[in-house]
C-alpha cells in the first residue's frame, strides 16, 4: 500500500515535471525576456526616484505605488509571487537607455506615451495606467489664479528630459510669453529650488504636482492652477521585439482594470471561481485556457488579483488614501464616467 502511494506520487511528479518542462520550453522559445525572468526568479522593473502614489520607497526600502503595482502584477503572473521584483530607481534621463540596454525588463515610471517614443527609439508602450495632463503650481499669495495670469519673464522649474519641457515651450509660445526654463535632473532639486523661490511656478504632470506638493515646506501656501495644458497618458513600457513579454505586461495591467470592472477584489477573488458570469470565471482562471496563450498557467490572473488587487484597490491604497488625488477624474472606469476601458480578456 505504502509502496503504491510512493510509486503513484513519483509518476505524478514525473508528469508534473514533464508538464512544466513543456510549457517552459514553449514560452521560452517565444520570449527571451520571460525565460530570463523565470531563470533569475525576479522581475526587473524600472521606477522613479521617488514619486509618492506612483513609485516611492519607504524607509525600509519597500516600494509602493500604482506604477509599482504593475510590476508586482507581472511578478505574480509570471513567478507566482508579487514580491519577487527588483526595483531600479531611474531618472527621466536614464529610463529609456536602461530599458533598451537590457538593464530592466519593464519601465513603469510615469512615462508619457508619445508617437516618437513608441516608434523611434526601440520601445513599445503596452497601455495606460494613469491618464494625466500637465499643470502649473504657484504660490497662493501670488494672485495668479489661471495660466492666463503669467507674464513675460516668468521662471518655471521642471524636470529634465521630459515631455514637460516641450509642452511648456508650446504653451508659452502660443501665449507669446518669454519665459525662463530652469531644468533639474532630479525631482527633489526641482522641489527645493521652487520652494526657495528660485521659480515663480513649478510645472509637471498634475499628479506629480499633487504628489510633490507634500514635500514643500508649507504645502498649504501653494496651489495647482485649474488648467491642463497637455495630454499625458502614462503607462508601462517594454523593449521592442519581444511580443510575448509585451502581451504579458499588457494583460497583467488589463486584468487589474477588468477585475475592478467585474467587482473582483483581492478579498473575494477565490469565491468568484463559482460565479455565474463566464467573464468573471475566465478572469479568475476557472474557465478557459487564457494563461496558455501567454505561456503561463491558468491561475496567473487570479494571483494578480489576490496578491496585488484590482486597479481600484491599487488606486485607493496608493493615490486616494494618501491624499494625493482623492478624486479619480478620468481614471475612473468607463462604466462610471471615466475613460478606463480595456479590451475583454477572452
Amino acid at each position: 500500500m505504502f509502496k503504491l502511494v510512493k510509486r503513484l506520487t513519483s509518476v505524478v511528479a514525473m508528469f508534473a515535471v514533464l508538464f512544466t518542462f513543456t510549457t517552459e520550453t514553449m514560452a521560452a522559445k517565444k520570449s527571451k525576456t520571460l525565460k530570463n525572468t523565470q531563470k533569475k526568479g525576479f522581475v526587473r522593473c524600472g521606477v522613479s526616484q521617488g514619486l509618492p502614489g506612483f513609485s516611492n520607497a519607504d524607509a525600509a526600502g519597500n516600494w509602493t505605488g500604482v506604477d509599482v503595482d504593475v510590476c508586482r502584477a507581472v511578478a505574480a503572473a509570471v513567478l507566482g509571487d508579487s514580491s519577487k521584483v527588483k526595483f531600479t530607481p531611474l531618472s527621466a534621463k536614464e529610463r529609456f537607455t536602461a530599458l533598451t540596454s537590457n538593464e530592466i525588463d519593464i519601465l513603469s515610471r510615469n512615462t508619457t506615451w508619445t508617437l516618437s517614443r513608441d516608434a523611434d527609439i526601440g520601445l513599445t508602450f503596452v497601455g495606460v495606467n494613469f491618464y494625466d495632463g500637465q499643470g502649473f503650481m504657484v504660490r497662493k499669495n501670488s494672485g495668479i489664479s489661471s495660466v492666463n495670469d503669467f507674464k513675460a519673464g516668468v521662471s518655471a522649474c521642471t524636470n529634465l528630459g521630459t515631455t514637460t519641457e516641450l509642452n511648456m515651450r508650446d504653451f508659452f509660445n502660443s501665449k507669446g510669453i518669454k519665459y525662463e526654463p530652469v531644468t533639474f535632473e532630479k525631482a527633489d532639486e526641482v522641489v527645493a529650488a521652487y520652494d526657495a523661490g528660485r521659480c515663480d511656478t513649478y510645472t509637471t504632470d498634475k499628479s506629480g504636482l499633487a504628489a510633490q506638493r507634500i514635500k514643500l515646506s508649507n504645502p498649504d501656501d501653494h496651489m495647482v492652477l485649474p488648467e491642463t495644458i497637455s495630454k499625458e497618458p502614462l503607462g508601462p513600457v517594454v523593449r521592442q521585439g519581444d511580443s510575448v513579454w509585451e502581451d504579458i505586461v499588457r494583460w497583467s495591467l488589463n486584468t487589474m482594470i477588468e477585475a475592478e470592472e467585474y467587482g473582483v477584489t483581492s478579498a473575494n477573488a477565490d469565491m468568484m471561481k463559482t460565479s455565474d458570469n463566464p467573464a468573471v470565471k475566465r478572469l479568475v482562471g476557472a474557465e478557459g485556457e487564457l494563461g496558455a496563450a501567454l505561456g503561463l498557467d491558468n491561475e496567473w490572473s487570479l494571483r494578480i488579483i489576490k496578491q496585488v488587487g484590482n486597479y481600484g484597490e491599487s488606486y485607493k491604497r496608493n493615490i486616494a488614501d494618501t491624499g494625493i488625488l482623492p478624486d479619480r477624474g478620468p481614471n475612473e472606469l468607463w462604466t462610471k464616467g471615466g475613460i478606463l476601458y480595456v479590451p475583454p480578456a477572452r
Binding site: K93, T97, G153, V154, G161, E165, E185, Q240
Partner: protein, 381 residues
C-alpha cells in the same frame, strides 16, 4: 629577433580591433532588433526645447546642433571663469601657506584641508541651495552701487549697449599688436644697449588711449542699460534689462573654483618649496631686491614645477563642470546629453559626440599648457 619585437604589438592591435569590433557589432545587432536607426541627421532638426541661459541667440526653433553649441559655450564659460578664479585663489593660498605668519599659514591650511576633502557634488549643492536660501527675493534686493542686484533669480548687472562695436574691438586689437612690437623692441634695446624701457606704463597707456580715440573719432558709442525691477504678479518680481547671470552659474563657478583652488594651492606650495634655498641666497648676495629675487629667480624655476600638475587641475575642473546638471546650469551635459538625448533617443550618437567634445576640450588645454611649459623651460644656450 625583429618579429619577436613586433609580435606583442601586433597582438595588442588585434585585441583592440576585436574588442572594438565586438562592441560595435553588438550595438548594431541590438539596435537592429529593436528597430533603432543610427545617424547624425537629427542634428539639423528643430530642437523644440528652450534653454534658460545662452551666450548665443537660441530658442526651440533652432536646430539640435545649435543647442549643442549653446551647451558647449556654457561649459567653456563656466570652465574659464572657474580656471581664472581657481588660479588666483590657488596662488594666493599657496603662498599664504608658506607665510611665516602663523595665523595666515594655519587659515590657508585649514581651507585647503576642508575644501579638498569634501566631495565636489556636495559642495555644488551646498553653494547652490545656500545661495538660494541666503539671497533675497528680487523685490527685497538691496542695490549694490545703485545698479547691481544680487537676487535669488540671478545677479543682474548693467549691460552695455554698443554702437559700432566692431570699431572698438579693432582699436583694442591694434593696441595689443602695438604692445607686442614695443615689447620686442624694448627687449632688443636692453640686450644691445642695456637700456630699460618702461614697457608696462607704455602698454597700459596704449590700451587706454587707442580705444578712447575710437570713441571720439570712430563714432563708437556705448550707453549703459541698468536693470529695472518688474512685477510679474502680486508677489513675484524680476528684473528687466541689463545682463543676468543665473544663480546656477554663480554657485557652480564658486564651487568649482574653491574646490580646484585647494589643489592648485598645493601645487604652488610644492613649486616654491622645490626651489633650493641656495638659489635665493645666491640671488640676494648679488644684490637683487627681495622682489627681484621672487620675480627673476624663484618664480621662473618654481613655475616649471607648478605648471604640469596645475594642467591636470585645469583638466579636472573642465570635466567636473559636467556636474552642472545637478543644479540646472545648462552646460553641455544638461542641454545636449540630457534634454537633447531624451527628446531624440539617440543615445549612442549623442554620448559619442559629448565624449569627443570633452576629449577635444581637454586636449586643447593640454596642448596650450604644454606649449607654455616648454616656453618657460630651461633653454640651454
Amino acid at each position: 629577433m625583429n618579429f619577436k619585437k613586433i609580435l606583442p604589438q601586433l597582438l595588442t592591435l588585434v585585441v583592440v580591433i576585436l574588442v572594438f569590433g565586438f562592441f560595435s557589432y553588438n550595438a548594431q545587432v541590438n539596435m537592429e532588433n529593436r528597430g533603432i536607426t543610427f545617424g547624425y541627421g537629427f542634428l539639423s532638426q528643430e530642437s523644440s526645447f528652450d534653454v534658460q541661459f545662452s551666450l548665443i541667440e537660441y530658442d526651440g526653433s533652432h536646430s539640435y546642433f545649435r543647442a549643442y553649441l549653446v551647451g558647449l559655450l556654457n561649459t567653456i564659460l563656466v570652465s574659464v571663469i572657474g580656471i581664472i578664479f581657481a588660479t588666483i585663489i590657488g596662488v594666493v593660498v599657496g603662498i599664504a601657506r608658506l607665510s611665516s605668519n602663523y595665523l595666515i599659514e594655519r587659515t590657508a591650511a585649514i581651507y585647503v584641508e576642508f575644501f579638498r576633502n569634501i566631495p565636489l557634488l556636495l559642495q555644488i549643492f551646498f553653494w547652490y541651495f545656500a545661495a538660494l536660501r541666503a539671497l533675497p527675493l528680487p523685490e527685497k534686493a538691496e542695490p549694490m552701487f545703485g545698479v547691481f542686484f544680487l537676487t535669488i533669480k540671478g545677479f543682474f548687472v548693467p549691460a552695455f549697449v554698443w554702437n559700432n562695436l566692431d570699431i572698438f574691438i579693432y582699436s583694442v586689437i591694434a593696441a595689443i599688436i602695438a604692445i607686442v612690437f614695443i615689447r620686442l623692441y624694448a627687449k632688443k634695446k636692453q640686450e644691445n644697449k642695456g637700456i630699460q624701457t618702461p614697457v608696462l606704463s607704455i602698454s597700459i597707456g596704449l590700451l587706454i588711449i587707442l580705444p578712447l580715440l575710437s570713441f571720439f573719432l570712430g563714432g563708437v558709442d556705448a550707453s549703459v542699460e541698468i536693470p529695472v525691477i518688474e512685477q510679474l504678479s502680486k508677489t513675484s518680481f524680476t528684473f528687466k534689462g541689463g545682463l543676468k547671470l543665473p544663480p546656477e552659474l554663480i554657485s557652480l563657478a564658486l564651487a568649482l573654483s574653491l574646490y580646484t583652488a585647494t589643489f592648485i594651492a598645493e601645487c604652488v606650495r610644492a613649486g616654491v618649496q622645490g626651489v633650493s634655498k641656495g638659489q635665493k641666497e645666491a640671488a640676494a648676495s648679488i644684490g637683487l631686491t627681495p622682489n627681484q629675487v621672487l620675480k627673476l629667480v624663484v618664480m621662473p624655476q618654481a613655475l616649471r614645477i607648478i605648471i604640469p600638475p596645475t594642467t591636470n587641475q585645469y583638466l579636472n575642473l573642465t570635466k567636473n563642470s559636467s556636474l552642472a546638471a545637478a543644479i540646472a546650469y545648462p552646460d553641455l551635459v544638461l542641454v545636449f546629453a540630457g534634454t537633447a538625448l531624451m527628446q531624440t533617443g539617440r543615445a549612442i550618437e549623442i554620448v559619442s559626440i559629448t565624449m569627443l567634445t570633452y576629449l577635444t576640450l581637454s586636449i586643447t588645454i593640454s596642448i596650450f599648457m604644454n606649449w607654455y611649459n616648454k616656453k618657460i623651460a630651461i633653454k640651454e644656450k
